[in-house]
């Protein structure tokens, strides 16, 4: 009943890796749009806007990614009966929601890391808040967002393995299939692990390199800061 581990198994795993990269790419782009908007709100001078962002970010970061995935896949379709979401898009949507909260924190942290004097100087020149952001703060903040952003991408790629449980054949699920077809689970999972490792290690090394090259006075925020949406928020 078992077939030996051969080229077709390796192809299946690589196809899975391609799906993993696709859904991560899509959700980092979509989550990036929502996250940048939310991060700008979080750093804005208006308290109600900051609250909207803090509630969104806090709610997402306070629950497991797996719960977000199950919610999108099982609960969301019930809100309009009769509808259903294909596995692929459920995965993208769930990971987008997840990514938006973490990217929001990175953006907020990076904006707040820019010295206050920069805001004050821009204000003294008569620039409005959006113009201060666009011309003075964001160009500087964008650079310090890169290392934690890459760090988050690694987190996203690893956590995207959880969509295997809703049936999408991505890298981890491909490993499951190969494991049960060949009866060699250790080999299958080690190969899958190696593929994850190559992708993630390349990214994290690139992130560290960039961080070392970065000569900027402000320190980049840490990606891992969970559930601290208002810390250091002195405005």
């Amino acid at each position: 009943m078992f077939t030996s581990f051969d080229l077709s198994d390796l192809v299946l795993i690589l196809q899975g890796a391609f799906v993993t990269l696709q859904i991560c790419f899509l959700s980092v782009i979509l989550g990036g749009v929502v996250g940048i908007a939310s991060g700008i709100l979080a750093a804005s001078p208006s308290a109600p806007l900051r609250w909207i962002s803090a509630i969104w970010v806090g709610a997402i970061r306070g629950v497991p990614v797996l719960l977000i995935i199950f919610f999108v896949y099982f609960a969301l379709p019930l809100m309009s009966p009769g509808s259903n979401i294909p596995d692929y898009w459920a995965a993208v949507l769930a990971l987008t929601i997840f990514a938006s909260a973490y990217i929001s924190e990175i953006v907020r942290g990076s904006i707040q890391a820019i010295p206050r004097g920069q805001f004050e100087a821009a204000q003294a020149l008569g620039l409005s808040w959006p113009k201060q952001l666009r011309h003075v703060v964001m160009p500087q903040a964008a650079r310090i967002m890169v290392p934690p952003g890459i760090g988050f991408l690694v987190v996203l790629i690893k956590d995207s393995s959880l969509v295997a449980v809703i049936g999408l054949i991505e890298l981890t699920r491909a490993g499951n299939i190969v494991a049960s077809q060949t009866g060699q689970p250790i080999l299958a999972y080690v190969v899958v692990g190696a593929v994850y490792f190559v992708i993630c290690f390349a990214l994290s090394t690139a992130g560290r390199r960039y961080e070392r090259r970065l000569t900027i006075h402000a320190r980049a925020p840490r990606v891992e800061d969970a559930l601290t949406p208002s810390r250091g928020d002195s405005k």
Binding site: L78, V165, N176, G183, I186, Y189, E224, L227
Partner: protein, 220 residues
């Protein structure tokens, strides 16, 4: 769309029991992962290049592969070579191993942040090596990394939901069971999500208390 949260009331004890298991496996993974993390840090900081390579390889491999895959390897793959674990043990092992790699990195950051001058000053004052390690390196290092440590505990607690995939009866698993028997899917997710959120929030709050005024750390 109508929501019926009342239907969940009979399941309250089950949900709380699930939450208890989640907390329990998190605590176990903290208790096992912490000393393991110290060991890995010591390997990475050792003079011996082989030990250093082993330590960094461990950290990089664990940190650059998914927890789910690590769990699969322990629970589904090891039995093929005759090593069997029950779901809870497998879950605790996976979480502990995963946690230890992150903790080793946090410890490293904490120790590296201690200025060399402090250690030299302790030497000049004639402090013993043990006293220097404890009072000048360990305690200040832990104080520096307390926020990162709490974040790691919160992330670990949320990650413990992954153990539901191998049928550990923790909160996520209980929730999935309730949705199949009641069909109150949205309600169950909202309540379960709140439970996760509350515990994560409490961990964050407790850490902030300790940080701001709770415990007075003695440096020397």
């Amino acid at each position: 769309m109508q929501l019926f949260f009342g239907d969940l009331i009979p399941y309250a004890p089950e949900l709380l029991a699930g939450l208890g298991v989640s907390v329990l496996i998190t605590v176990a993974a903290v208790l096992i992962g912490s000393p393991l993390g110290v060991g890995v840090y010591l390997l990475r900081a050792a003079g011996n290049p082989v030990a250093r390579a082993v330590g960094s390889t461990y950290v990089e491999v664990i940190r650059n592969t998914p927890l789910l895959l690590q769990l699969y390897l322990i629970y589904f793959a090891l039995p093929s070579v005759g090593v069997n674990f029950d779901p809870i043990t497998a879950g605790i092992i996976a979480l502990s191993v995963n946690n230890s790699a992150y903790l080793a990195e946090i410890y490293r950051a904490g120790f590296e942040a201690i200025p060399k001058g402090q250690i030299e000053a302790a030497d000049a004052l004639g402090l013993s090596r043990r006293a220097t390690f404890f009072h000048v390196r360990l305690v200040p290092a832990l104080r520096n990394v307390l926020p990162s440590l709490t974040n790691q505990v919160i992330l670990l607690f949320l990650a413990s939901s992954i153990a539901s995939i191998v049928a550990v009866p923790e909160l996520m698993h209980v929730m999935m069971g309730i949705t199949t028997s009641t069909f109150r899917t949205i309600e169950t997710f909202v309540v379960g999500g709140l439970l996760y959120f509350i515990v994560a929030f409490l961990i964050a709050g407790a850490s902030r208390l300790v940080e701001t005024r709770g415990i007075r750390w003695k440096v020397a």
